[in-house]
Amino acid sequence: MASPSANPPAVERAPIVQLTPIVQLTDVHLTLASTAGPVNILRGIDLSVQPGERIGIVGPSGSGKSTLLAVLAGLERVSKGQVVVAGGDLNALNEDRLALWRRSRVGIVFQSFHLIPTMTALENVAVPLELAGANDAIARARAALAQVGLAKRETHYPAQLSGGEQQRVALARAVAPRPALLLADEPTGNLDGSTGHAIIDLMFGEAAKLNSTLILITHDENLAALCDRVVRIEDGRIKSIEQRPARPQAAD
């Protein structure tokens, strides 16, 4: 597979100093009950992520990548271990508190977009802002939509948009509340090559502009290579963490 057609944004970054980490996972275990008995999905994950960092998480199917992302988003509760994300101790929050916490701190981009079919592109983007009680939700959603190049598609419903456009709406929705943490689960998995690249460029660009931390799940090594660190997961454990000191300038 070719490397991305465009470079990740070349924003000057200060060398990473030890700040309060935005993600701090300590010995995280997660066991789910299934009809065939309990399944250990995460088996002791320790991970610390600094604000503004870009993390690529790679691993084979069933290794626990998506579960880890769900844990980070506060969508899945761990069986054991500590989860501190964006200033919140997630184990200590109940379901509704988690929802409130999520509103302003976390943006998620899904592999299959998950736009709400009965809402227009603009309304989809506005939802998290409305949930957070923003008075200017529509205006900000409009700006976010323009940012991803879909200003003319505001009144279209998801079914009237192409896959790439849908994912751009989803991205606008994720970044519109200016989250500290942007999570992406195989964001290009349902898109063709060039459309995928465009989305990746946009996502990295938005994360950089907002100075958000980006955690990206992918099985695409080239995509992972764009990040500051690559975390490899196998069988519910971290197998390795590679630091990428230099920003890769992919040859085109």
């Binding site: 789910l32 009950a33 299934s34 199917s61 069933g62 998506s66 579960t67 992302l69 769900a70 988003a73 969508l75 899945e76 379901e95 509704d96 929802a99 409130l100 999520r102 509103r103 302003s104 998620i108 899904f110 592999q111 299959s112 998950h114 736009l115 709400i116 079919p117 009965t118 809402m119 309304e123 939802v127 998290p128 409305e130 949930l131 957070a132 929705r173 689960d185």
Partner: protein, 835 residues
């Protein structure tokens, strides 16, 4: 309101999935609103026409006698008075020589004080009834002409006088308030009554005095004055506002029953509502999970979809209210012809509000649960490889809310009804039926899971019965409850018919003879027994009286159970006897000796005693012929009312009543061949004795039962429609699954036969289980109604019950085959490609 905004956006997806939701609610609400509107229209009509229905502002009714001079003077002081005498008599058409029992009404010149008599001939009633050439006139209703084979201008004999038929009555203003009539109307002038010689001491005749009050007097004042000045007159006084308590009571009861049937339809519809909401929310899982991942709380999600439910419920309720108001109003014209009652068309808010309240409560009671479960959807469901079982029960607050809503429904049904006992029994049975069918559904699913047949078709069918989201519960509930009601109603109706008809030939007398004078008794007996085929002649003294006081308390102030209120209303038949009457058995106390001649004693019927709250040794005061007679209760009897013998609630000891003027009642048995001769010989010889032919009374009763039965079956039919809508909804919800399943099965080599057989087995099982249970429950409910509420012997008609239940199985099977047809019609390739 964020939740409202979101739910409105959500509704853009269209209402397709909600058509059944709206239909289920709308149907039930329409039934309740329609019945309420109809009954309100009739009650308003009764009130509007109250004066002409009663014939005056106040009516004083005396039995066996006219007023004394004091009473007449009292009435005259209150305003203008008009009177009529009503009794049953035999009319004899001289030209055709036909004789028939008629309801005779002799009216004075002032009749009617309110409203007017409509005649098919020109001229006033007074003019028609006057005596011309020595012959007084009569006005009759069309039925009299048919029965007598007579025409206007013919002569008829009544008692010992002759009349000329001069007019046909099209409408009589005060007719509707009279109860069961045994014959057609013949109206004559009051002055002409004496010549008939029908009115003798003890004759069963009623004197109605209608008063148009002087403007300064109120009905209440006059009633009080009557009570003070003439306490022992023994008259029944009615105010025009309560002009027809009998009609109203009947109306209230019928409306209560029909509203409860409508409520059942609504509850069955509730199952459909819950299913529709459940299916809708199933499709919304990704949306709900997405909203939650964006920071929506469980409470917000619940409110978003609660708003939707409320908006749709409002839509369904409004449709129901519109239909429920429109139908009785549009049909008002036709109904006015069928019902001999005035009907004021219009919009009545009270029944509409009640129907809307029922609709809203049902919509909420059945949707809180699925809404709460949907709100509990975990957002982690969005990540593809996470499948974890969710909560099985909603949070406690929602469970409590659901229970409270059902409690509110039950309370509304019970406390909104006058007859709480009946409403409570109905609500209780509904709860039992719903719970039982739900449990049985769970049992069927459990059994289906554990049976692992080898046969592929059986395996497929059983798998469908228990897989998650199977419609088994909805099918069994909707089918079962509606079938139970239908079986119960079919059985109660067949019981009513059986009581009236089937048992007649061997037990019931052919004729009742009324108003036999004591001096005629020997002659009468000889005449009857001389007629070939006449046997088992029974005679009994008869007079009418009112219970004036119970244990010294005036009867207006006595607390009576609603079922026994009739005992105190109007007058009752009284008799005296030396021996315990046949068909009675002594429950308590002792029967007086044959030669008893002491102070008057009473034997009272069991249920009346219970209703009045009296026992042995208590005293009752009965007003007979304007005299209060106080007597002690000496015994309590149980009667077999269905024996068609002569039964009396109150039997006196001989002595006092024996010396009062009275007439005799008689019954006689005769085979069909002997009836005509007996009728002729008695009516020719005794023109003053009224002859009631049992078969005529029964056919009259049967016609009423038939009409009622049709109304009740119609209402119950609506529950079946509700059930079918729910069934169809459950089937529609499964449409996609069936298409896919059919495609896969065909791809795997299943034949059409396999697929049809699997569907037949699946639905046949549900249908059979539901019908069997409905058969049993319906039987039980009918038995309880007939024996416990009506106090009659239960007669089981398994054929009718089984036919009803089997009809239910057939309906389910048909729906199942519709499902199979869907599965077969699908072409497998495209369905498999897109999956």
């Amino acid at each position: 309101m964020l939740s409202l905004r979101f739910s409105l956006r959500e509704l853009r997806g269209g209402l397709r999935g909600f058509r059944l939701f709206v239909a289920c609610l709308g149907l039930g609400v329409a039934v309740i609103a329609g019945i309420g509107t109809l009954s309100a229209a009739i009650i308003t009509g009764l009130e509007r026409d109250g004066r002409s229905l009663l014939g005056g502002d106040l009516e004083f009714r005396l039995t066996h006698r006219g007023t004394t001079p004091e009473e007449q003077a009292f009435l005259a002081r209150q305003g203008s008075v008009s009177y009529s005498v009503q009794m049953r008599a035999m009319a004899h058409a001289l030209r055709s020589d036909e004789r028939t029992l008629v309801e005779l009404k002799a009216v004075d010149g002032g009749y009617p004080l309110y409203g007017s008599v409509e005649l098919e001939q020109p001229g006033t009633l007074d003019a028609l009834l006057e005596t011309r050439n020595g012959l007084p006139g009569a006005a009759v209703d069309p039925q009299s002409l048919i029965r007598l084979d007579a025409a206007v201008g013919d002569r008829i004999g009544i008692g010992e006088a002759q009349f000329e038929i001069r007019g046909v009555i099209a409408r009589e203003p005060d007719r509707a308030t009279e109860g069961l009539t045994l014959g057609p109307r013949v109206m004559i002038a009051a002055d002409a009554l004496e010549a008939t010689k029908l009115v003798q001491p003890g004759t069963l005749a009623y004197w109605h005095y209608r008063v148009k009050l002087r403007p300064e007097l109120t009905a209440a004042q006059v009633q009080d004055a009557a009570q003070k000045e003439l306490p022992t007159a023994g008259w029944r006084i009615r105010d025009w506002k309560e002009g027809s308590p009998g009609v109203r009571r009947f109306l209230d009861r019928a409306a209560l029953f029909l509203v409860l049937v409508g409520l059942t339809a609504l509850l069955i519809g509730g199952v459909g509502v819950a299913n529709a909401v459940h299916a809708h929310l199933d499709g919304k899982t990704p949306t709900i999970a997405t909203l939650k991942s964006l920071g929506a709380t469980t409470g917000l999600i619940f409110r978003v979809y609660l708003w939707q439910t409320l908006l749709l419920a409002a839509f369904g309720i409004i449709i129901g209210l519109v239909v429920g108001t429109a139908i009785p109003n549009l049909a008002a014209g036709a109904l006015a012809d069928i019902l001999p009652l005035p009907l004021v068309a219009g919009i009545y808010w009270q029944p509409l509000a009640l129907a809307a309240a029922y609709g809203l409560l049902v919509a909420l009671a059945f949707t809180i649960w699925p809404l709460a479960r949907a709100a509990d959807i975990r957002p982690a469901a969005l990540f593809r490889d996470l499948v974890a079982p969710g909560r099985s029960l909603p949070r406690p607050v929602y469970v409590i809310a659901t229970l409270l809503l059902f409690a509110a429904l039950a309370a509304l049904a019970i406390f909104g009804a006058d007859e709480r006992r009946f409403a409570t029994a109905f609500v209780g049975s509904a709860i039992v039926a719903f719970v039982l069918f739900r449990l049985i559904a769970a049992l069927v699913a459990r059994v289906a899971r554990h049976i692992r047949p080898r046969n592929v078709r059986l395996k497929l069918a059983f798998a469908s019965l228990h897989r998650p989201g199977a419609a088994t519960a909805a099918l069994l509930l909707s089918l079962g409850v509606s079938l139970t009601l239908l079986v119960a109603i079919a059985l109660v109706e067949s019981n009513l018919h059986a009581q009236v008809e089937d048992r007649l030939p061997d037990e019931a007398p052919a004729f009742f003879f009324v108003d036999i004078q004591p001096g005629q008794m020997d002659d009468f007996r000889a005449t009857v027994l001389a007629s070939p085929g006449a046997r088992d002649l029974e005679t009994v003294p008869n007079m009418r009286g009112r219970i004036a006081k119970v244990k010294g308390v005036p009867s207006e102030q006595v607390e009576v159970t609603p079922e026994q209120r009739w005992v105190l209303q109007g007058d009752r038949g009284l008799t005296y006897a030396r021996d315990l009457p046949a068909g009675s058995s002594l429950l308590a106390g002792s029967w007086w000796p044959r030669d008893y001649n002491g102070p008057p004693l009473i034997s009272i019927e069991e249920k009346a005693a219970q209703g009045l709250g009296v026992g042995i040794g208590d005293r009752l005061t009965v007003n007979v012929l304007g005299r209060d007679i106080e007597a002690e209760i000496a015994s309590i009897r149980r009667l077999d009312w269905s024996s068609f013998g002569i039964n009396f609630v109150l039997v006196f000891s001989p002595g006092l009543l024996e010396r009062a003027p009275h007439t005799f009642l008689a019954t006689v048995k005769a085979g069909p061949a002997a009836e005509l001769a007996l009728f002729r010989s008695v009516t020719q010889r005794f023109p003053g004795i009224s002859v009631v032919r049992m078969k005529d009374v029964l056919s009259e009763l049967n016609a009423i039962v038939l009409k009622l039965g049709a109304a009740v079956r119609g209402a119950a039919g609506i529950t079946l429609i509700a059930g079918l809508i729910v069934l169809a909804g459950a089937l529609a919800a499964e449409h996609r699954r069936r298409l896919k399943e059919g495609a896969i099965l065909k791809a795997l080599g299943a034949t059409r036969r396999d697929i049809i057989a699997a569907h037949v087995i699946e639905y046949g099982t549900v249908g059979l289980v539901g019908a069997t249970l409905a058969f049993g429950l319906g039987w039980l409910a009918a038995w309880a109604m007939v024996t416990l509420m009506m106090g009659a012997t239960f007669y089981f008609a398994p054929g009718i019950a089984a036919a009803t239940a089997l009809g239910g199985v057939a309906a389910t099977l048909l729906l199942g085959l519709a499902g199979a047809w869907q599965a077969l019609a699908a072409k497998p390739a495209p369905l498999l490609r897109t999956t």
